[in-house]
């Protein structure tokens, strides 16, 4: 579902974020993406969502080589990839309901179905009843969960998340990871970048570790 073939990424300012990364994530598989700060985790996810393009090498997502996706086709491509961001990326001037509904509005879903699905998604992240609140009226953890609801509402075959639990307390972090696992169980391919070594240990899923822009073996855990 997600295949990296000898991907090299240099940013316009000359910084080389990925040296040569190759991996393959099968359809319905789940993986943690780990590595120190600045290792290149977010870069990998940006390449999958076509927020950046590789300098060299191939990135194949959902059977499509991203190199073949022209700029006009990017929106349709992105609708196949659910994303959860470190900084939530919510619309501050729209209520939670509208934020979560956004992908469906873009896809042109009818009002009735939209309403049903928004409620279901908010229920899944435990935020039913907050529809009319605005993002800034929520705590950081609550905002994070709104972002997750938005990422899954259009039922994308691929879901990527960049440190989705960084702002959550341990209980909530566990809950969110369980949510990702449940989605994975119904066939969604999931990739989660995280620092949370304790969570990684708890879930017996595949781990892709990056160090200085290259795949590497796992380091010894730093945990207490």
């Amino acid at each position: 579902m997600i295949t990296f073939q000898r991907v090299f990424k240099r940013y316009p300012n000359g910084r080389e974020a990925l040296a040569e990364v190759s991996f393959d994530l099968a359809s319905g598989e789940m993986a943690f993406l780990t590595g120190h700060s600045g290792a290149g985790k977010s870069t990998v996810l940006k390449l999958i969502a076509l927020l950046e393009r590789p300098t060299r090498g191939q990135v194949i997502v959902n059977n499509r080589n991203t190199a073949s996706v022209g700029s006009g086709a990017i929106p349709a491509f992105r609708r196949q990839v659910g994303m959860v961001f470190q900084d939530h990326k919510l619309l501050a001037d729209r209520p939670i309901y509208d934020n979560v509904a956004l992908p469906l509005v873009i896809a042109g879903v009818t009002r009735r179905e939209l309403d049903k699905r928004v409620r279901a998604a908010l229920d899944q992240v435990g935020l039913l009843g907050k529809e009319t609140s605005f993002p800034l009226e929520l705590s950081a953890g609550e905002q994070q969960r709104v972002g997750i609801a938005r990422a899954v509402i259009s039922k994308p075959p691929v879901l990527i998340a960049d440190e989705p639990t960084g702002n959550l307390d341990p209980d909530l972090a566990l809950e969110v990871m369980n949510l990702f696992k449940r989605l994975n169980d119904v066939g969604v391919t999931v990739m989660v970048a995280t620092h949370d070594v304790h969570l990684i240990d708890r879930f017996g899923v595949r781990r892709i570790h990056i160090e200085h822009g290259q795949l590497a073996g796992f380091p010894p855990d730093v945990a207490a």
């Binding site: 359809s27 927020l51 006009g72 873009i106 042109g108 009818t110």
Partner: protein, 326 residues
């Protein structure tokens, strides 16, 4: 990717029928239309500023246009065609004078030539000068034969008239040639120049409206950069992001057009009194002319159109450049 997962197949469901797609499309547009209007109404001060600027920009050429229209109406009441008066030498017989008239009348650059006998001339002079009875006392009519000439339509430019006048003066029977209604021509020249100004101003200000709307939309886009990035991030196309801006721009233009109409009407109302009072002193039945229905339509529809154009150009240009940074 490899083995089909039954759960997954159910999960990624949902083709829609063409009819449902159409109804969704209509629904979307109606919603954009209403919500963009709602957004303007919710920021009354900000919207008023933009609409005010556009309204002024549209009102100005409209006002200038009315100035020209009305000034033309004033001068229209006055005989506008230039007229030449040819005074013949004395002494001259009626027969000779008629011949001269025929000669002039035959010219290509003369529409018609009319002979004015000394008797007719005296009568006219009496009426014109107000000397009235005084002249009745004259024993003898001192006036010469005269011929009044209207130049042919294609030969009424100042240059043509000058050459006509010069040529006539070389005739042996002619004493002097006078070109009349000089001041009307002078006024016309001013109006002509003013009309050029109006055209120039209308062009510039039409461009100005596009620029104003474009600028507003550009800054609006800038102000909603984050929102746009987020929408693009979750898969919104350029067209999707642009739609509300097009509606806003059109609303701005429409509002500006309506405001311009109000401004122009107010200006006409404000000036009608004094101007008509002045006119009435000269027994002129002049009435200040406002916008006719065509003009109003042009103003309002033109405003909306310019608004749409301005927002389309700007949104298309600027939205392409906003790419999500994550």
């Amino acid at each position: 990717m490899s083995r089909p997962n039954p759960a997954k197949v159910a999960y990624a469901s949902g083709r829609r029928s063409p009819l449902a797609a159409l109804s969704t499309w209509v629904e979307r547009h109606v919603q954009s239309l209403v919500s963009s209007l709602g957004k303007l109404v919710r920021q009354p001060f900000a919207s008023a500023l933009t609409i005010g600027v556009i309204g002024l920009g549209l009102a100005l050429p409209a006002c200038l246009h009315l100035v020209v229209v009305n000034a033309s109406a004033v001068t229209a009441g006055i005989e506008k065609t230039v007229q030449l008066s040819v005074y013949l030498k004395q002494p001259m017989t009626a027969e000779q004078a008629r011949k001269v008239r025929q000669g002039i009348d035959a010219r290509d650059d003369v529409l018609d030539a009319q002979l004015v006998t000394p008797a007719e001339g005296l009568k006219e002079f009496e009426e014109m000068s107000g000397f009235g009875e005084a002249l009745k006392a004259l024993d003898d009519n001192p006036l010469p034969y005269a011929i009044t000439i209207r130049p042919a339509p294609l030969f009424d430019s100042p240059e043509a008239i000058e050459s006509l006048s010069d040529e006539l003066e070389t005739l042996p029977e002619v004493e002097i040639v006078q070109v009349d209604t000089e001041w009307v021509r002078r006024l016309d020249a001013i109006l002509g120049a003013l009309e050029q100004v109006v055209l120039l101003a209308a062009g510039l200000l039409g461009l100005g409206v596009v620029v104003i709307v474009g600028n507003t939309i550009r800054l609006d886009i800038n102000g909603r950069r984050e929102e746009i990035e987020v929408i693009k991030l979750v898969g919104g196309s350029n067209a999707f992001v642009r739609r509300p801006f097009l509606y806003s721009g059109t609303w701005y233009g429409l509002g500006g057009g309506l405001l311009a109409w109000i401004l122009v009407s107010a200006a006409v109302g404000f000036l009608a009194g004094p101007i008509e009072k002045v006119a009435s002193l000269y027994a002129s039945s002049f009435r200040l002319q406002g916008l006719d229905p065509d003009g109003i339509l042009a103003l309002v529809a033109g405003g909306a159109l310019l608004g749409w154009v301005g927002s389309w150009v700007t949104a298309t240009y600027h939205l392409r450049r906003i790419e999500p940074r994550a």
